[in-house]
Every structure is written in structure tokens, then in C-alpha cells.
Symmetry: C2
Subunit: 222 residues, 2 copies
């Protein structure tokens, strides 16, 4: 009974890790679509999002079954509930990659980004993918130190997000309001993607250490 239970819990962790891989891939492709003005790639990301939603629904259903059949208590119960929360965050990461792809499609064949900010988005995209990959490894390895390092990487994302604001709000900005609005939203999508990756890692730390992660984020109001 307990063995079957732990096997099922391990399968749930596998599903979560696979979802992390999917949303990391989605954000990687969406960023390339954005930087390279690649409509085919943008459409690919948009078409694939339903698979992420399906994976989340399946993960949630399996977690429900486990709760109903095994009625875990204490730490085991919290582990299953953490899976349900993490699946929600990861699905949201997929939505944010989808938003980036849709922004690239909306302005096609025009590029969304002026050349002067392309470098920032290449960096934010790189960090976002790395955060998703690390969240995947944290889930697979339950490495608490690795989970903590995600926070530092997310700080780099927040710094880029803030710096982009100073760039577009500067008097020397010459690309007008529509471009600034696109950049504001895109930057926020990357920043929120990072926040969710941190939240997934914190949930995993909690599962391993039993210490509850804090709620909310100090930086997501920009």
C-alpha cells in the first residue's frame, strides 16, 4: 500500500517535471519567434499550448485520485497538494509563453522589438528558460540548494525588468508609445514566468524540508 502510494507520488513528480520541460521549450521557441520575427515558430507555440493545459488537467486528476484512494495525511497530504499548486503555476508559465508568441504574431511581419531592446529580451528569455529547466531539475532531484539558487536567478530577471522600464521611459526613447506598451507587457510576461518558476521551486523545497514557503512576491508590482 505505502509502496504503491510512493510510486504514484513519484509518477506525479515526473508529470510535473515533464510539464516544466514543456513550458521551458515553449518559452524558448516563443522568445526565438519574438527575436527572429518568425511567424511559423510563433504559430507552433500557440498550437502546442493545449498540450500543456491537458498535461495539467491529467496531473490534477491523478493527484485527485491519489487523495481519494490513499487518503494521505500529514506530510504526504501536503506533498500531493503541493503537486496540485505547482501544476497550476506551471500551466500559467505556459500561458505566459503563449502570450509572448501571440505578441510576435500580432505585429508580424513587423518586429515587435526595436533593435535597442532585443538584447534585453534575449537575456530575459535565456533566464526564463534556465529557470524552467532548474525547476524541472529541482523536481527530479529534490535538490534544496539548487532550489534556493533559483531565487538569485529570478533577481537577475527582476533587475532586467526594472532596467527595461528605465530604458523605455527615458527621454531619448524614440520608438513611440505603441512600442513601449508592447515592451511593458512582454517584460511583465517574462517577469511573471520567473515568479512562477520560483514558486514551483519553493513548493518543492517545502515538500522536502517541511517548511512552508512564503506567499506573494515583492517585485511583481512593476
Amino acid at each position: 500500500m505505502r509502496e504503491a502510494y510512493h510510486g504514484q507520488l513519484g509518477e506525479l513528480a515526473d508529470q510535473l517535471a515533464t510539464m516544466c520541460r514543456m513550458v521551458g521549450d515553449a518559452m524558448e521557441s516563443a522568445t526565438r519567434a519574438l527575436l527572429d520575427v518568425d511567424l511559423v515558430l510563433a504559430e507552433h507555440v500557440i498550437g502546442e499550448d493545449a498540450k500543456i493545459d491537458d498535461a495539467r488537467a491529467r496531473c490534477e486528476e491523478d493527484a485527485y485520485s491519489l487523495l481519494a484512494l490513499q487518503a494521505p495525511v500529514a506530510t504526504d497530504l501536503r506533498k500531493v497538494l503541493s503537486v496540485i499548486h505547482a501544476a497550476e503555476s506551471i500551466e500559467r508559465m505556459g500561458d505566459l509563453a503563449l502570450h509572448v508568441a501571440k505578441a510576435a504574431r500580432r505585429r508580424h511581419p513587423q518586429p515587435v522589438l526595436p533593435d535597442s531592446v532585443r538584447g534585453y529580451f534575449a537575456q530575459m528569455g535565456g533566464i526564463a528558460v534556465e529557470l524552467a529547466r532548474k525547476a524541472e531539475r529541482v523536481i527530479r532531484t529534490q535538490d534544496v540548494d539548487l532550489a534556493r539558487s533559483i531565487d538569485d536567478e529570478d533577481d537577475a530577471m527582476d533587475d532586467l525588468h526594472r532596467h527595461l522600464f528605465s530604458v523605455i521611459m527615458d527621454k531619448s526613447w524614440e520608438h513611440g508609445v505603441p512600442s513601449a506598451v508592447d515592451i511593458t507587457l512582454l517584460s511583465r510576461f517574462y517577469e511573471r514566468f520567473g515568479d512562477h518558476a520560483v514558486s514551483v521551486a519553493k513548493r518543492t523545497v517545502f515538500v522536502v524540508t517541511g517548511k512552508m514557503p512564503g506567499y506573494g512576491s515583492a517585485t511583481d508590482d512593476l
Copy 2:
């Protein structure tokens, strides 16, 4: 046993409804702070947010206890899990009200909003508060028809959100990029607040009817 269980489930619903009341009040005050350039009111909203976070933590703990002690299955299990999801959405609504209040504080004593868009935000604020109030009533009454009407009201929010973009992106916009960036983010905060209210209502519909709500939102990529 079953009676105690239903009593506890009723208490959880009460807690959720009270949280809706709190975030509706927070958004009402944050909107007034924004429109009236009222720093004291903005600080009040910022100071109260911790209470919403606490209420969510308490609600989640109580839901965990209920799962651990009663080990509900089938529909009862789904109800408790819906409470956990709804509490997360409502706490996020509180964060979004907090972001509006922080935006008002950041620009003080300057108003964030040019006069030409104040009316739109007064409307979005009104709809946001109404959505939170309706979500509260849906939780208290389990009125499925009322829950469905929330979707229509959220459509009005999405229309305002889209219209604001056309206003700030128009060639006649004379308030510059920094103001457009503030408005872009603020408008998104209201729009997301509405999405979460819809999600809370959908979860409640599911609890009553047993039909699972859809994931994702078609409009949150703008």
C-alpha cells in the same frame, strides 16, 4: 461525522466569502486612492494586504485539516480542493489591489492618470469591485445563474482594457511614454483581477453542478 464535515465545509465557504469581501474593499480603496491621488488611502491598502495573505493561509490550513481528518472522496474531495484553488485566486486579487495602491503611492503627489483616462479607470474599478462582490454572493448562495452573469461583467472589463490600449496608442496621445506604461500595467491589474473573480465563480459552479470549469482565459494576453 458527516454533519461535522458539512459544518466545516460551510465554515471554509464563509472564510472564502470573507476573503472576497476583503479584496473587493481593497480594490475599492485602491481605486479611490488612484483617482483622488490619496496617499493615506493608498498606504492603508498596502498595510492591510498582510491580513488577506493571513486569511488565505488560515483557509488553506483549515482545508488541509479537513482533508487529513475526514479524508473526503468524490465530490466532497473536489469541493475542498476547489476551496484551496479559490483561496489562491482571491489572494492574488488582493495582490493586484496592492499593486494599484503602490502605483498611486509611487507617483504621489503627482496623479498617475491623465484626466482623459480617469473615467475608464473609475469604470474598471467599479466593475472590479462588483465582480468581487458577486463572487462573494456566489460563494454564499451557490447561485449558479449569478455565477454565469459574472462572465458577462468580465467581458465589459476586457472591452475597457482593450479600449484603453487604443486610446494610449493613438497618435493624439499627448501624455508621453511613462504615463502610457503606468496605464498599461494598471489596466492589466484590473483585467487580471476580473479574470480571477471569474475563476472563483467557475470553481463554485463546479462545486454545485459537478461540471469542471475550463482552464485559461482567451483575453489575458493583451
